[in-house]
């Protein structure tokens, strides 16, 4: 049997590539920019397995161009760029990387939440620009207390639960909303369940950790932002389109909510002339949810092992 061929759409750490090299000839996309649709089709043409990121659209068209494909491994938890139903219909298993990056993403959610609460990025920029002339001023740069504040978690998957755990260390009053109730998580982390409008009305901090589906598209739009407190802070570590960017811009501009921090935007990257970039009360990070060591290496290794399993016909 000839050696399998694997196409990897972005550079990985050598340790992870070596795992795939044990069972396949590996072609790695060498550029920093992701492959275009045509380049992706071309490289998948003779591939038995592919390792993808969220930038790669894996749809029926691509699968048509990849007749030998028998394994897809995504370096992420979210799979909204992959037509999983279509792949399954064609008997191609799809792997993803749950668990391993939930903790790091929760760390980032807390970093964004605390940074927004205490205005770290804004005040640093002001300081470096020469703003700090008086040592202590009682009302400069006042932020919001995180301890004992009300946190609303929307979507209680693995990342939502990890966020709940961390918030417990700050004695936060934690309320959550999701399609299903989780009495076990309520007991373990001291959470309260709430209907979505109630969560929005109560929360000092709202964190979004839902997958992107047709139901969660623009889950946060004008009406939802209007339900939130004027002092509230919105954090998005899920997917950009969960939030309506035009509505968010107006809400932040007009003080309907106080601040926001987004690790994901719609589109990604955000256009340099997007009005959101003119706001002082917004922090945007470029989708770095799990960009930390050692987790990034562990995620790459898991995706590599998933691909190897798929190529061998074993469960991912």
């Amino acid at each position: 049997m000839s050696t399998a061929r694997a196409f990897v759409t972005r550079t990985l750490l050598p340790e992870a590539l070596d795992i795939i090299r044990e069972v396949a000839d590996v072609t790695v996309w060498p550029e920093e920019t992701p492959p275009s649709v045509e380049e992706l089709r071309r490289h998948c043409g003779d591939a038995d397995g592919i390792l993808t990121t969220i930038m790669d659209r894996v749809d029926a068209d691509l699968l048509d161009a990849a007749p030998r494909l028998r394994a897809i491994s995504q370096l992420a938890v979210g799979l909204d760029n992959v037509d999983v139903a279509e792949a399954t219909r064609r008997g191609i298993p799809v792997g993803y990387t749950p668990g391993v990056l939930a903790k790091s993403t929760a760390d980032l959610a807390m970093a964004l939440l605390l940074g927004a609460a205490r205005r770290t990025s804004e005040s640093e920029r002001w300081l470096r620009g020469g703003g700090w002339q008086i040592q202590f001023h009682p009302t400069h740069w006042l932020g919001q207390d995180v301890h004992e504040a009300c946190l609303g978690i929307v979507g209680l998957g693995q990342i939502g639960r990890e966020i709940a755990k961390r918030a417990g260390g700050f004695d936060m009053d934690i309320v959550y909303h999701s399609r299903t109730r989780y009495p076990d998580a309520e007991a373990e982390h001291g959470l309260r369940y709430a209907e979505f409008p109630d969560l929005l009305a109560q929360a000092d901090f709202v964190v979004l950790s839902v997958p992107l589906t047709p139901q969660t598209h623009h889950l946060i739009s004008g009406p939802q932002l209007a339900m939130m407190k004027p002092s509230a802070i919105l954090i998005n570590v899920s997917r950009g389109p969960v939030v309506d960017p035009a509505a968010l811009y107006e809400a932040l501009r007009d003080g309907q909510i106080a601040r926001a921090a987004l690790d994901v935007t719609s589109p990604e990257p955000i256009a340099v002339d997007d009005p959101l970039l003119t706001l002082d009360n917004l922090v945007i990070t470029p989708h770095i949810g799990s960009a930390a060591l050692p987790t990034r290496l562990n995620t790459m290794k898991l995706a590599a092992r998933n691909l190897v399993a798929g190529l061998k016909g074993e469960p991912m």
Partner: protein, 266 residues
């Protein structure tokens, strides 16, 4: 200043630290001194975690990349890699109320938490799951070192060249205590030479720090303008306590939160 204020009866500090008040002179003159302990411990611990997480996960460089220099052109999974906070080791130097609150938060991230202080607290070890170590050991093994000591003669330049040399090359230093606890020029050298990976400070020497201070030329340093207690809620509480102290001092009564109680002839 006290010499030129012959009628001064009470000094009410809005804050916990009173190293800027010459307490001996106040004692001699019978001037009451109050401060605002306790209520800013949690807010300061929140800020400690904000700085620790911001440095660990490159929040400020990320914000600059997107919003200041506007360089975000495509999704790149290989930029702005930080350090995992979960399961990392945190070393707390000086564990009073603020250190205790930091330890509690850190444990919720599954951090391994070590501490050093002059008097061991086995009860806190049990309560929080923290481990007592020597100062040197803490510096050698911690991924994050955070300082929560008051400023005294002993703690001035507690962190200097020798201490920075003991730390891991991947370590991050957080200082929310007082600027002079850290030798800033040694810190600059250590960061420049890669002896430690990064630092986040809420306090500097002097304050305010000059914009051409060498530390500000580094991009692996976050500096906050002394915001440890800067929240709406806590400043309100501090103002209220300080006012209660002041009123009591003026009336010659017991200060609710006194460093030196009134010593007026009856």
């Amino acid at each position: 200043m006290i010499a030129t204020s012959p009628n001064l009866k009470a000094i009410s500090v809005v804050g916990v630290g009173y190293d800027h008040v010459h307490v001996e002179t106040c004692r001699e003159r019978g001037i009451a001194v109050g401060h605002t302990p306790g209520i800013l411990s949690d807010t300061t611990a929140d800020m400690t975690m904000a700085l620790l997480l911001a440095t660990a996960r490159n929040i400020v460089p990320a914000y600059n990349h997107v919003q200041v220099s506007k360089q975000w052109k495509y999704y790149d999974p290989n930029i702005l890699w930080g350090t995992d906070v979960h399961h990392a080791t945190l070393g707390i130097v000086g564990m009073g109320r603020i250190g205790h609150a930091v330890a509690k938060r850190a444990r919720a991230f599954d951090m391994r938490v070590l501490y050093y202080k002059r008097e061991r607290r086995p009860d806190w070890e049990e309560e929080l799951g923290v481990e007592y170590v020597t100062f040197e050991n803490l510096l050698e093994v911690s991924d994050f070192v955070t300082l929560h000591v008051p400023l005294t003669e002993e703690t001035t330049h507690l962190i200097g060249e020798a201490e920075l040399a003991l730390m891991k090359k991947t370590a991050i230093l957080v200082n929310i205590a007082r600027g002079p606890v850290v030798d800033h020029y040694a810190l600059y050298d250590a960061l420049k030479q890669g002896q430690i990976a990064g630092a986040a400070v809420d306090v500097t020497e002097p304050e305010p720090i000059n914009t051409d201070h060498p530390l500000l030329s580094l991009d692996n340093v976050i500096v906050a303008p002394h915001l440890g207690s800067a929240t709406v809620q806590t400043r309100m509480k501090m103002a209220t306590m300080a006012m209660e102290n002041l009123l009591a001092g003026l009336k010659g009564e017991q200060l609710p939160y006194g460093v030196l109680q009134p010593n007026f002839p009856r």
